[in-house]
Each structure stands twice: as C-alpha cells, then as structure tokens.
C-alpha cells in the first residue's frame, strides 16, 4: 500500500510457452494500481529471468503466407462453439490473444479479471507498407461481473516489430439478447 499513490503488487511468475508446454521462463514483475483515477492503466515493470524462445521461423512462415494471399483473410468465431480452432487459423488466434493482452492491461483494475473469450470476427486489411493489419472484433470475459464485452481493435504486426494495437474501441451493449 503506497500512501496517496496506490497499491503495488510484487509478483513472481512462471511463463509457459503455449506452443511448447515444457518451455518455461521465470519472471518477476511489479504492478502498481493507481489510486483514484480508474481510467489509467496500471504501471507494469517486469524482468525476465532467461530468454524467450526464438519464433523467427514461424513468424516468417506466417508473414509470407498472409502476404501471398490473393484475397484478404476473413474469419469468424475463433475458437468455434466447440472450442475448435482450425490449424491454419492458430497463428491468428495467438495474435488476437497477444493483442487482447494489451486491452486487458489497459482496462484492468484491482477488481477485474479479464480474459479473451472469443474472436468474433477478424478481417485483414491490406497495406502498402511492411505491416500486416488485422481488424478484430473480440469478446472479453470479465470474471467478477461475468460480463461479455465486445471490443474492436486494429492490430499491426511484423516479424521484427511484434504486435501493436493501433486503435481500440469498446463496443456498447454486450453479447446479450
């Protein structure tokens, strides 16, 4: 508890590679939730104890595949109702997940627990520069309120530059009927 500033948490984490469950890296982090202004994302500082595996080859394969598509990629419901993700959409699922992490970080407080529930829609937008652009509509699940929150985000990606969320907008209403 830091007087007049907020609450700081010290964390020791083990990061697990989604694509290789035996590969783990330890990590320490400090998260500071600011008092008062709930519109400010928590401060995060972290240190990795070790190195993340190189994804160069897989990145290159994905990048080349998308660049060489004749028609812009479009997909819905990832995973589908039965939890299934077709193999060719796996990288896109991972990309959405990483990008949603940014949304989660920006919108978390001490009283929320946000997770990506599903990618509702993804549409590739062709660009003249080196980046891949995907416009996503995702559904985030907030554990405490149990709400499903639709969110739109524009994601840029390039093997060397990684993920960027360049535009994001929380949608009104919720996935309810």
């Amino acid at each position: 508890d830091i007087k007049d500033v907020g609450h700081k948490y010290h964390l020791e984490l083990e990061l697990e590679d989604e694509l290789d469950k035996d590969s783990t890296v330890n990590c320490t982090a400090e998260v500071l939730y600011h008092l008062g202004n709930k519109n400010v994302a928590p401060d995060v500082q972290f240190t990795l104890e070790g190195e993340l595996k190189s994804t160069e080859e897989a990145d290159h394969v994905f990048y080349t595949r998308i660049r060489s598509l004749e028609k812009e990629l479009e997909a819905e419901n990832i995973p589908d109702s039965h939890g299934h993700v077709p193999p060719e959409l796996q990288p896109l699922h991972l990309l959405a997940w990483a990008a949603s992490g940014f949304l989660v970080w920006q919108n978390s407080t001490e009283n929320t627990q946000l997770q990506l529930a599903q990618v509702k829609r993804v549409k590739q937008v062709r660009r003249s520069d080196k980046y891949l652009q995907f416009d996503f509509q995702v559904l985030l699940h907030e554990m405490v309120s149990q709400e499903i929150i639709p969110w739109e985000m524009t994601v840029l990606w390039h093997p060397r530059d990684g993920v960027q969320v360049t535009r994001e907008s929380r949608q009104p209403g919720h996935s309810s009927g």
Binding site: P79, S81, G83, A117, Q118, Q146, E147, H174, S176
Partner: protein
C-alpha cells in the same frame, strides 16, 4: 438420412405429420414431442435414407411443402467428429461422450441410459423450465432395503459452461459402465444414492447452442420482454440480493425479482428441501477457473463445519491433480474468487446439507467457456 424442414399449414397437415412420425418411427428434432407439432410452427424431422422417397411422396400427396435442411446427415456427422478415434467404449454405447451434445440429444441419452441400466437407474421429473421444458434428473440407486444417504449433483446451471453437462453425462456413464467391474463403485452405491441433474438451465443451454454461445442466464423475460434472463446462481434464498449481484436485468448477474423467482430455481429448491435430511453432499458443477468452492460466498464468516469442508475439498483437489497434474484451488469464494449471494451451494449448506461444493472445471481462461471437445475426456477423467 435427410432432415426436412416443414411448416404445416393446417391442423389436418399436423395430424398427418404426427401419423407419419408414429407409423414410420421418424426422428423428430424439433419440436421434441409429436404432440407439440403445431400449424405455423416449423418442424425438423430426420428421415432414414430408405424412407426418404416414401415420406416425400406422402408429403407431396398431402400438399405439405417442405425443404431439405440437411441433405446428408452422415456427412455432417463425419465432418464434426473429432479426428482421434478414442476408446471402444463409446462405439459400443453409440453415444460419444467426448463431444458436446445439444439438449435434444441429452434428453434422448437419459432415456437410453434408463433403458440400458434399468436395474440401477430411474429418470425423474423435477419441474418445468420457463420455456416449458421438462427438467429430469437421474437417480442411480442400488436396490436395497436400507435407507441410503444421497449425493446430489447438478450441471449446466450456467448455459455457456458446456463442459459441465458434458461432465455429468460422463460421470453417469463411468459409474454405470464400471459398476460391475469396479468394487469401489459397488461399495459406493451400497451406501449412497446418486442423483444427477445433467442440465439445470435447459432453456439457457439451448439458447447457447442456437443463438448466443456465451449466454449465461435462464430465459425468463423482464421489463415487459425487453430484457431476458436471471442468473440462477444468484437466485437462491441464501442472503439473496446482498452482494455480487445486480438488480438490473441486463446484467449477467441479475438475481431475479426475488429469491426463487425462477421456475428452475424453485424446481431444485423444492426438491432439495423435501429430501434435505437424507442429502449428505450437494455438488454443483460450473466452469471455468479450476476451483473447489466451499460455502460461503456472501460472507467471510466461515460455516460451522469449515475445517471438514476444507479438508474434504483438499483431498478432492489432490486426487484431481494426481491424474494429469491439473491444479485446483480450494476455499470459499469470499476468499479465492469474488463475493456473491444467492448461490445454490450456499443455500444448500444453509438448509442443513453438511458438504456443499461448487466445482469450477477447466480451464484457467485459455479457452474459458469454449473448452475444446478434446479436453472433455481428460477434464472428466481427472474430476472423477
């Protein structure tokens, strides 16, 4: 086999369809019961391949218009089958426990189970849902002249938690298929009766199949039909409406207009109240989170038998982790999750049932509610 889509126009057409159904033993997919076939309401009926022409001719003869909804049922089934062919057990039974099933199939499964294991299983009516669907539970009971204590387990109180009903079905199958060969199960059933409600929130479950996969609540309307659904797990009479709820119908944790305002809640509560002195353990199955929750969620004041509750919970978590290493946390929601009132687990304990738990099954958020079907088996095996 084909599935036909028919909208009968007159009551004569309805009668003819009911006749076709009963004489040719056709498979009604919608509505559930032939007596619910109505003029102006759409009908989906599966016709076995050898009867397709005969049925179509008969429909033409009676000027009943139809269209083919599914031209080849087998093709669709093959497409949706998981790639790995697992144990022979499923093939023998015919029911695929490693896939998620829609409600119609679960109803049929219950009938099948009662037929196949009639010495042990009886199906009982519990009540009606808001949209007028019957709620059934299965009683697994070894005949005996001594009175036995009851273990109650319900699944699917929240529509989107599909792994939960999948677990109830798996559980029933495991008990029944291994009863003869497993002395542990026989000893278990010598002293205990199992009551399993595979889907509590039937309307919501169907809605999550047909309309909105991430629906949670039931389907009763509020505000003159402008808003739907009460969170059944906030609707029980355990500190109802005090914490972790909303009084706004559009919220996912809307607790209803009052405790037990929902027919589904009442159906369960009335039954449990009647049998409470015989019920040793109350289990309600949810997802996700990998938690074994003990009472209470509405207050941090511990229940009278807290030590016992935690001890038993820890034992369960250890056994669970022993199977595939999946770790579950144990404790009251007020400590390890979030505060909430009106839960069935809290209510069951408050009316006197000593062991009452909510299980939150896999996973931890990776797939969340959309747990892949290929995780049904390991999830269920470890939870057994």
């Amino acid at each position: 086999d084909q599935v036909l889509h028919i909208v009968p126009a007159t009551s004569q057409q309805v009668q003819h369809l009911q006749l076709l159904h009963s004489t040719l033993l056709l498979d009604l997919w919608k509505p559930l019961m032939p007596e619910d076939i109505m003029a102006g309401e759409e009908l989906h009926i599966r016709v076995p391949a050898p009867l397709v022409q005969e049925v179509k001719d008969s429909l033409d003869q009676h000027m009943i218009s139809y269209r083919v909804l599914i031209p080849d049922v087998q093709k669709l089934v093959d497409q949706s089958m998981p790639r790995e062919r697992s144990s022979h057990k499923q093939v023998r039974e015919g029911y695929v426990y490693t896939q998620y099933h829609p409600m119609e199939e679960i109803y049929q499964w219950m009938t099948q189970i009662q037929n196949n294991y009639s010495e042990l299983v009886t199906q009982h009516f519990l009540g009606m849902t808001f949209e007028n669907r019957p709620m059934y539970y299965l009683q697994i009971s070894q005949p005996s002249n001594k009175a036995k204590k009851i273990i109650w387990m319900d699944c699917g109180i929240h529509a989107r938690e599909w792994i939960s009903p999948a677990f109830c079905q798996w559980f029933v199958k495991e008990i029944l298929q291994n009863y003869k060969s497993d002395p542990k199960i026989r000893r278990f059933l010598k002293n205990l009766d199992l009551y399993v409600l595979p889907v509590l929130n039937i309307d919501g479950y169907i809605y999550s199949w047909e309309t909105n996969r991430l629906w949670r609540k039931n389907r009763s309307p509020s505000k003159n039909g402008t808003c739907y659904g009460t969170d059944l797990n906030r609707n029980f009479n355990s500190s109802w409406g005090t914490v972790g709820v909303s009084f706004d119908c559009s919220s996912e944790v809307f607790c209803g207009s009052g405790p037990e305002s929902e027919p589904e809640t009442r159906a369960v509560a009335q039954f449990i109240r009647r049998k409470k002195s015989d019920i040793a353990c109350f289990l309600t199955i949810h997802s996700y989170g990998q938690l074994i929750l003990s009472p209470y969620g509405s207050t941090t004041k511990p229940p009278s038998n807290n030590e016992e509750l935690i001890q038993v919970g820890e034992k369960a978590a250890a056994a669970l982790a022993g199977k595939y290493g999946t770790s579950y946390k144990v404790g009251p929601p007020s400590l390890i999750l979030y505060n909430n009132s009106g839960s069935s687990r809290d209510w069951a304990h408050m009316v006197g049932i000593p062991l009452s738990y909510t299980f939150e099954l896999r996973d931890n958020g990776t797939y969340g509610f959309l747990l892949p079907a290929n995780q049904i088996q390991p999830t269920c095996e470890e939870t057994m």
